[in-house]
Amino acid sequence: MVSEYKVMSTPRKLQCQVTQLIDHGEGVYTVRLKPENRIPKFKPGQFLHLALDEYDPSGFWPESRVFSIASSPNQGDLLEITYSVVGKFTTRMEQELEIGNFVWVKLPYGDFIINNSRDIILYAGGTGMTAFTAYIKTLRTDNPHRVCLFYGARNKDLLIYRSLIEKKFKESKIYYAYYYVEENISDSIDHFYVGNLSIDSTWPKINKPYESTFYLSGPPAMIQNIIEGLKVKGISNQSIKIDAWS
């Protein structure tokens, strides 16, 4: 009876063990966590809070930062996040996280949830891609709407979810992915472009922009640039969804 666009389950706090750390280079890491209790139901696009300090459940929640949940809701007892070292907290993560360590998370939060009732255009910059990975993992082959992803990173190696995307997007002829890297690439690869993500460089690839919803996740400068470009093209505010943070 209520619209398909839903919000969130009641959040829960979970202690988790770090089970895997992947160093992608240039300060970008993926962390896999195994929670000690059942993960509450969440939706692709939602995020978690991660705390490094010990948490006593009888007291207050310690300092934490938010990360999009990169794992799929169907992945059972696994939570995955990807982060880039950009400040004090993520520096601590880089220094302190080790396999076997325990951390606390609380989830789910956020309403950056993709509505499958229209064509979908995804703009992902760097680790902002993690806001879409859970969605891509759960994409079904019978989805009747086009999904078009523009994924940008500093270089080819930092397109860390490219193999997932290519595997999933092969499953349907109406899924499209285009990659943008800031550094030159030596060889020519299909759907690869050199330069920043922008409306000018992506607009011609969008099939029906005025029948689509645009989802943006990435660095603030990229998001601002894309929003301004979309507004110039006449895209309404209602058709632009942003994974934005204060």
């Binding site: 009876m1 969130m8 389950s9």
Partner: protein, 439 residues
């Protein structure tokens, strides 16, 4: 271990010792000890949790509330369980949720009709009136005390938007008929499950059929927190609205003591407020403060562990009373489940037949004098109470059985605190009355 942890452990050990000295192992004394219709059943764990929570001194909802909500929603198999401070508050929150503008054209608006029953606890119906909606009353069956299915069908009118009624005293109403009506007429359903925790219909727990359901944890109920209740739903949008109604009407969903969990605390636009106005103080509903404390939830956590055992004992006690009292069926209408249901009995309801040769009041007076507590089936007919006499409402046909319940029905306890000695004593007292003894 810190000194504080050591002291804490010592306090908790002493609490268990205190429980044994204060509460454990008191034998029943017939004709002296009152056999309550209901009551709290607990052991040292409830006391330990309560003291443990008090030593946290967090006070407002925290780890115990979170734990209870998680375990309770798991028990129900629903995504969301929101603790509130009573079952009545749960009803108020649940119905008010459906008046939220966030529901668009599904929002309940003043004058819309909500189907219910008058043989009810008042706070199942009060939220309908409090929200300027119109209750439509249907009569109930004698024996199961739930809405007569044919009357429910007949109750549907052009302004009918919802059904809100209780699984009376643990007996599931006819969910086949109700769910068909919900589907066919695009109605909201709120199950007042306050008296029916653990009841099943076609094998599925009641409280999991409706868009929203409500629970009470008052001491008379299947599990207790003292005062406490819960709203459950599988719909996140409804859960968020219900949380807002419960928490002053605020738009922000951060729990107490938390801030900016959404990351947009100072970067959103609401109404005509200045851009970036603190989201913690933005109000999207006319709300209440109906939250629970962590001390209440701490008791609830211990009680929830005992729920299956409690339900089993309620069923056993019910069977014992039924077996004995069935010999008087020519004078008493005994309780019965609705078809396809497996009640987690709240109590044992009896209706004195018109030609029994004695009145309900004579029988309950005799039981009370002999230390067996009785209760009427709540309001009897709610529409005959001063507060409800002049409310705007509609009645489908008549409330003949409801009036009969008001005059002839009462209930006695089946709660897990009643033991075999007490059941035997109850049987003896009934037999004496039926043999003609009076006071």
């Amino acid at each position: 271990m810190t000194k504080a942890s050591e002291i804490r452990q010592k306090i908790l050990r002493l609490t268990a010792e205190y429980y044994q000295e204060k509460f454990e192992g008191k034998a029943f004394e017939p004709n002296k000890d009152l056999i309550h219709y209901a009551g709290r059943v607990f052991d040292e764990q409830e006391l330990i949790n309560l003291i443990d929570s008090s030593l946290d001194f967090y006070l407002t909802a925290n780890r115990y509330a979170e734990s209870f909500e998680a375990d309770f929603s798991d028990y129900l198999g629903l995504d969301n369980a929101l603790l509130v401070n009573s079952g009545s508050s749960a009803n108020l929150v649940a119905l008010t949720t459906l008046t939220s503008p966030k529901l668009g054209d599904q929002q309940l608006k003043p004058g819309d009709e909500v189907i219910t029953v008058a043989a009810a606890f008042p706070t199942t119906v009060a939220p309908i009136v409090q929200n300027n909606l119109t209750p439509v009353f249907v009569d109930v069956n004698l024996g199961d005390y739930t809405a007569i299915p044919e009357k429910l069908v007949k109750a549907i009118g052009p302004r009918t938007k919802a059904i809100m009624m209780a699984h009376t005293l643990g007996v599931p109403f006819n969910l086949d008929v109700v769910m068909n009506l919900v589907e066919e007429h695009n109605l909201w359903l709120i199950e007042d499950n306050c008296d029916a925790l653990g009841s099943r219909y076609r094998g599925k727990l009641t409280g999991t059929f409706g868009h929203l359901s409500t629970f009470s944890f008052y001491p008379a109920h299947h599990i207790t927190m003292g005062e406490g209740g819960c709203v459950a739903t599988d719909d996140e949008e409804l859960a968020r609205i219900a949380r807002s109604i419960r928490d002053w009407g605020r738009d922000c969903y951060c729990a107490g003591g938390e801030s900016n969990t959404c990351g947009k605390r100072f970067s959103q636009q609401f109404g005509t407020l200045p851009y970036g106005y603190d989201h913690k103080y933005v109000y999207s509903h006319i709300g209440y403060n109906l939250k629970v404390t962590d001390l209440q939830a701490a008791i609830g956590c211990a009680q929830l562990q005992k729920l299956d055992d409690f339900i089993g004992k309620r069923k056993d006690n019910f069977e014992s009373l039924f077996e004995f009292l069935s010999r008087y069926e020519d004078q008493l209408i005994l309780p019965m489940p609705t078809e396809n249901s497996d009640p987690s009995w709240f109590s044992f309801v009896i209706t004195v037949r018109d030609d029994a040769g004695f009145s309900r009041d004579e029988l309950t007076h005799f039981l009370e004098v002999n230390r067996i507590e009785t209760r009427n089936l709540f309001s009897g007919n709610l529409l005959r109470h001063p507060a409800f006499e002049s409310i705007k409402h509609r009645v489908v046909d008549n409330l003949t059985n409801t009036d009969k319940i008001m005059l002839n029905s009462f209930f006695i306890g089946v709660y897990p605190g009643i033991n075999k000695d007490q059941l035997n004593y109850m049987a003896q007292v009934f037999a004496r009355f039926m043999d003609g003894e009076r006071v």
